[in-house]
């Protein structure tokens, strides 16, 4: 079968549905005022930008984003930042809040989110539905998945990533035969079977599903009439592998590193770590590859700036090392290392910021020490404050994660 061209993909009757309704409770307080896909990431991005960029780069250009909780900033981001397709050509990125057309509850699970939007599928009548999560950081070529789906004549193809056997307990694991057909699917089972020929690896589901529409609609409609958890991983997939052609697809990673990169930034520690994956000299996750650009809402801001070069140590010296520095930042006589600074951050003299994520418009006052911290937007940290050095003391005032990352909520006041 010949590979699909860009034009081939655009001509497919394919729509993407991005599930962007999760509450993201384990990312609290970053999700106190925003949906998880709208949480800032990597300086200038929001988490959902990675999935949407994958779509655009794969020529998937009919995209519905299913929003739900606290969707206002996500909605704004998509309308303002992703108004890049031409509805006149049948291409779009549209957000859909819950319509309560066939139920009075909010989405009960991933399958219920699709069931509640069957009206949209009926209006569009696609042949294929690509179900994506708005919560994941990865670079995936969905075109390769489409090719695999057609080659296997599958009803459902599930994108998977090989993970060390010890991590099977964290994921839905696909048990496959030598033809990649899924013969069993085990949700978060520490003793799930390994990949044939690779006794140390399991095949973890990435929550990326390519369905033939009729199979999808049939199955979510049946599931809706049961009292299951209405979840693809827990209910739909384990059931339909026995009756349908369900295949695993080892995803085509466009990150070009020896180990495939895919992260569900579901917890504060995972969020902090995947931001740190960006700052290394040879970053695990590469934002700078022009072959697979990650785009976001354009941000108007002056260039980032460092100020002061007094004799050092002792004097004021604006210094930023191994860090991401977004537009509008001013490092004014402070020291920043291994950190991610979002737009408009200010680091005042003699302040030290290390291994931290500082979000838009936050000011780190003179002489502050900030280590292994996440400071949300619009915080004015007064002069001389220490964050993340004494995590025991921090626990009285902030959220501190299991791995000792201190999190300061948005617009926290220090008076």
């Amino acid at each position: 079968m010949p590979p699909l061209s860009s034009t081939d993909v655009r001509r497919l009757k394919l729509i993407a549905m991005v599930l962007a309704g999760g509450q993201g409770e384990r990312l609290y307080p970053l999700t106190r005022d925003r949906a998880k896909p709208a949480v800032p990431f990597g300086g200038i991005y929001r988490i959902i930008d990675f999935t949407l960029s994958n779509c655009i780069n794969s020529d998937v250009r009919r995209i519905f984003v299913l929003t739900q909780y606290k969707s206002s900033s996500l909605d704004y981001h998509i309308h303002f930042g992703w108004n890049v397709l031409s509805p006149a050509l049948g291409e779009f990125i549209r957000t859909i809040p819950p319509q309560q057309r066939i139920t009075e509850s909010w989405y009960l699970g991933t399958a219920d989110a699709i069931f509640q939007n069957i009206y949209t599928l009926e209006q569009e009548r696609p042949d294929l539905v690509l179900i994506l999560s708005g919560d994941h950081i990865y670079k995936m070529n969905y075109r390769a998945m489409l090719e695999a789906h057609f080659a296997k004549n599958a009803d459902l193809t599930i994108a998977c990533i090989p993970v060390p056997r010890e991590q099977a307990k964290l994921f839905g694991v696909a048990v496959v035969d030598t033809d990649s057909r899924i013969i069993d699917f085990q949700e978060k089972n520490p003793t799930a079977p390994t990949i044939p020929g690779s006794p140390d690896l399991c095949l973890a589901s990435m929550g990326v599903y390519l369905f033939n529409t009729r199979t999808l609609v049939r199955e979510v409609s049946i599931d809706a009439k049961t009292d299951s958890q209405h979840d693809f991983g827990k209910n739909i997939i384990p059931k339909i592998i026995h009756s349908h052609a369900v295949y695993a697809h080892d995803f085509m990673d466009m990150n070009k590193k020896p180990i495939k990169y895919w992260r569900d930034v579901g917890t504060l520690d995972a969020y902090w770590e995947s931001n740190m994956d960006l700052v290394a000299v040879d970053p695990l996750f590469n934002l700078y590859d022009p072959d697979w650009p990650i785009r976001t809402a354009p941000h108007q801001a002056p260039p980032a700036k460092t100020v002061f070069n007094d004799p050092w140590p002792g004097g004021r010296r604006g210094l930023t090392l191994n860090s991401l520095l977004s537009p509008g930042c001013i490092v004014s006589g402070g020291f920043v290392e291994n950190s991610v600074l979002c737009p408009g951050v200010r680091v005042e003299e003699q302040a030290r910021v290390t291994e931290s994520i500082i979000m838009d418009g936050t000011v780190i006052g003179r002489g502050c020490v900030v280590h292994r911290a996440i400071i949300d937007k619009g915080v004015h940290v007064p002069d001389g404050i220490t964050i993340g050095v004494d995590t025991r003391a921090d626990r009285d005032r902030y959220v501190v994660t299991d791995r000792g990352v201190t999190v300061v909520p948005r617009e926290m006041r220090y008076t």
Binding site: I102, I118, Y119, V217, D227
Partner: protein, 123 residues
């Protein structure tokens, strides 16, 4: 005795289905519109609903969704003169789709089948 709610706007058909299903031994109640069906289903909790699609006001597809939003396990058979709705995804959450005919054998068979399935689920 199973209670069947018939939702049908046409008087003659209403009478026909009511008589035939009563002969079959079912307890039958009738609603003339989607709106009435929603009210009745709340009050009576039928064991099965036979639902017309083309009705003035709220049509059967909308009624189907609203009935399921109140009780997602309520068995519903769509019963319509048109075969075209069968391919409409919105109708796929019904338990059966029967095209109206003067011969009611299929309707009776489907009612029996859906009720039996439901009975199994309860065991």
């Amino acid at each position: 005795m199973a209670t069947i709610l018939i939702v049908e706007d046409d008087d003659h058909q209403q009478l026909l289905y009511q008589e035939v299903l009563q002969e079959e031994g079912y307890n039958v109640i009738v609603a003339r519109s989607g709106k009435e069906a929603l009210e009745l289903a709340q009050r009576v909790t039928p064991d099965l609903v036979v639902l017309d699609i083309a009705m003035p006001g709220m049509d059967g597809i909308e009624t189907l969704g609203r009935l399921l939003s109140k009780n997602n396990q309520l068995p519903i058979i769509l019963h319509t003169a048109y075969a075209t709705y069968k391919d409409n995804f919105m109708t796929w959450s019904a338990d059966a789709y029967v095209v109206k005919s003067s011969d009611l054998t299929e309707l009776k068979k489907e009612i029996e089948r859906v009720l039996a399935k439901r009975g199994e689920g309860k065991k």
